[in-house]
């Protein structure tokens, strides 16, 4: 709890620096350094490919740069960043779907193939199976599973980031775990 309060205080200080034209660039550089890994891994788990993740992460931070002045401190900075990252990732996948002119399921298969061919994936066969199972989940369940299982994010924070209720998130996570378990049993 104290760590969370410290982080909130540090974010508030960063925002104050960002609003000062003299320290604006320095503050933003610090913000990117602080959150780049968390944002990158969140995006990477959705879009799978490193190059795609790199493009999306850059878009996320450019959007943050443009809109940080309008950020209301009623919500926490990193939940706001997560929300932008999730939205940008989903927009990217939609765009990809349009470009490929195929159904969403086929994009998922394309992502699965990419996962196997990627040189930036060091997981063994079981981990590949788990990623395959995650890719077969519906969009919302996939995001919820990644945030809860890998990031170990609290439901309350997820609710803030994804603009939904805690109950809905729990249900989504429950369904996601059931489907993954079923996939692993069959394969």
């Amino acid at each position: 709890m104290a760590a969370e309060e410290d982080e909130a205080a540090a974010d508030a200080a960063l925002l104050k620096q960002f609003r000062n034209p003299d320290t604006r660039n320095l503050a933003f550089h610090q913000l990117v350094t602080k959150y780049q890994k968390r944002i990158y891994w969140q995006v990477r788990r959705i879009v799978i490919d490193h190059e795609d993740a790199n493009d999306v992460v850059q878009n996320v931070f450019i959007k943050v740069w443009k809109n940080l002045d309008n950020f209301k401190e009623s919500s926490r900075l990193y939940t706001w960043l997560y929300r932008i990252a999730v939205n940008e990732s989903l927009t990217f996948l939609k765009q990809k779907k349009l470009n490929m002119f195929v159904s969403f399921e086929k994009v998922e298969f394309a992502l699965s193939r990419k996962l196997r061919d990627s040189s930036y994936f060091k997981g063994d066969e079981v981990e590949k199976k788990l990623q395959d199972a995650i890719l077969r989940l519906p969009e919302k369940q996939r995001i919820v599973f990644n945030l809860k299982y890998f990031e170990e994010m609290k439901y309350e924070e997820m609710a803030e980031a994804l603009d939904t209720s805690v109950g809905a998130l729990k249900a989504s996570f429950h369904h996601a775990v059931k489907k993954i378990e079923e996939f692993l049993r069959k394969n």
Binding site: H50, Y120, F173, V177
Partner: protein, 178 residues
């Protein structure tokens, strides 16, 4: 079925800390929770600088970006407006092209008679006057001259008798000669 659906979320809402779906997923629990993805070496060292460079570039280009956005926003409407204008113009020209006579008649109707007469007199120079005079003076050459023959050819018996009387010619003399 409906009752079961209502019970499950209730359980999850009231038992936030203890309830964990992973308890019912033994296979999933055997998989290590490590991150199987990797990035190129030094990627996170360079990313902030790359992002800062893009942000600075973005700030510099801001006015033109806004202009381009506005242009893109109205582009479809502009194309549509131009298309409508082209279609309307082609329809108008086609309709006008189909009735040129009506157009000239309507223009002529607006010109007073006096102006029309003056225009004809002024343009009389275009007529060959000497040719007209020759036609009038040489009218004999133009008209047929062998009128008696024509009369004879078309004359009846009464006219022949009148001719013989007027010229004191005796019919018996004619018979003798024949």
């Amino acid at each position: 079925m409906t009752g079961k659906r209502n019970i499950e979320p209730e359980k999850s809402n009231t038992d936030t800390d203890r309830w964990n779906p992973l308890d019912d997923a033994p296979l999933l629990r055997t998989i290590p929770k490590s991150n199987p993805f990797t990035v190129p070496e030094g990627y996170f060292d360079n990313l902030p600088s790359q992002i800062m460079a893009q942000c600075r570039e973005n700030t510099k280009r801001m006015p033109s970006v806004n202009y381009n956005r506005a242009f893109l926003l109205f582009k479809p409407q502009s194309i549509f407006a131009v298309l409508i204008a082209v279609i309307a113009l082609s329809v108008y020209l086609r309709r006008e092209g189909n009735k040129p006579l009506e157009k000239y008649e309507s223009i002529a109707a607006t010109i007073p008679d006096s102006v029309l007469m003056a225009s004809v007199q002024n343009n009389i120079a275009y007529v060959d006057v000497s040719a007209l005079e020759n036609m009038v003076n040489n009218q004999d050459e133009v008209l047929p001259v062998n009128i008696p023959d024509a009369d004879i050819q078309d004359s009846s018996g009464g006219q022949i008798i009148n001719y013989l009387i007027n010229n004191n010619i005796d019919a018996s003399d004619i018979e003798k000669e024949l």
